[in-house]
Symmetry: C2
Subunit: 136 residues, 2 copies
């Protein structure tokens, strides 16, 4: 049989993800997460356990909880989102884009089979790929 | 002379802005701003002075400063952004969209001639108008 002809090549997450990952561990003080967010390189910090595996995610929204709440919130574990929507390097970018839209979020950690974070995929990365522009 | 034919009608900010504005005053404690942001209706709080005029804007990013900084930050004035990019009800939406894009922000306060906030215009409002969707 001859070679199959590919009618459409959908790029994979691996091709556009950002591999410079800034992360925190679940036991770090919230102020450490805040300082990392204020460096301005990202608004999404993946949270790792002692084995380096993804257990949560933290944004400026979650840090705001530490200020707006009357509860005693001190470490990252107290404020992180535990059900992390994630992607893999092999996932097609349109599937990843759907995840962002459906969950109303703007970035996904990219994990390997051992649940280690090997990159981040943001709406901005996707926007660049899709050449999206505001037009009236 | 006959009536002029309009070749293109660009919508105005007034037609798509959100008039349910949640604001803070510059003297309120940062925790009050945090609590308002966590209600989840907006990530952008316009900051008003004693005369009800726009003097700043606060997001979860600014509240994060209160946690990540070693300085003593207590009231909204200490963390707000003072140079507020703004729009007016009569501005064309494509001009407002350009402001968002150019300044890399996601919402603009809409002010009247007395510098009072009469609405908010967000990227989401614009996205709805433009029918923008992620498509690969
Ligand atoms: C619902 S979003 C709204 C704020 C903003 N629109 C955004 O996209 O980040 C804020 C919440 O989403 C959570 N979040 C962000 N990325 C996430 C992801 N990949 N999986 C699960 N939750 C996530 C954050 O922890 C935060 O509590």
């Amino acid at each position: 049989t001859g070679p199959m002809r590919e009618t459409k090549v959908v790029p994979r997450v691996r091709e556009i993800m950002d591999t410079r990952v800034v992360a925190v561990t679940e036991d770090e003080p919230i102020s450490t997460a805040a300082a990392k967010l204020l460096k301005g390189e990202t608004n999404h910090l993946p949270v790792l356990n002692g084995d380096g595996q993804l257990v949560g995610i933290v944004t400026t929204y979650d840090v705001t909880k530490a200020v707006g709440s009357t509860r005693d919130l001190t470490v990252v574990r107290d404020i992180m989102t535990r059900r992390v929507v994630r992607t893999t390097p092999e996932e097609a970018v349109d599937i990843a884009a759907q995840k962002l839209e459906r969950h109303n979020i703007s970035a996904l950690p990219v994990v390997d089979p051992a649940n280690r974070v090997i990159g981040m995929l943001s709406a901005i990365d996707l926007g660049k790929l899709l050449g999206g522009r505001w037009q009236a």
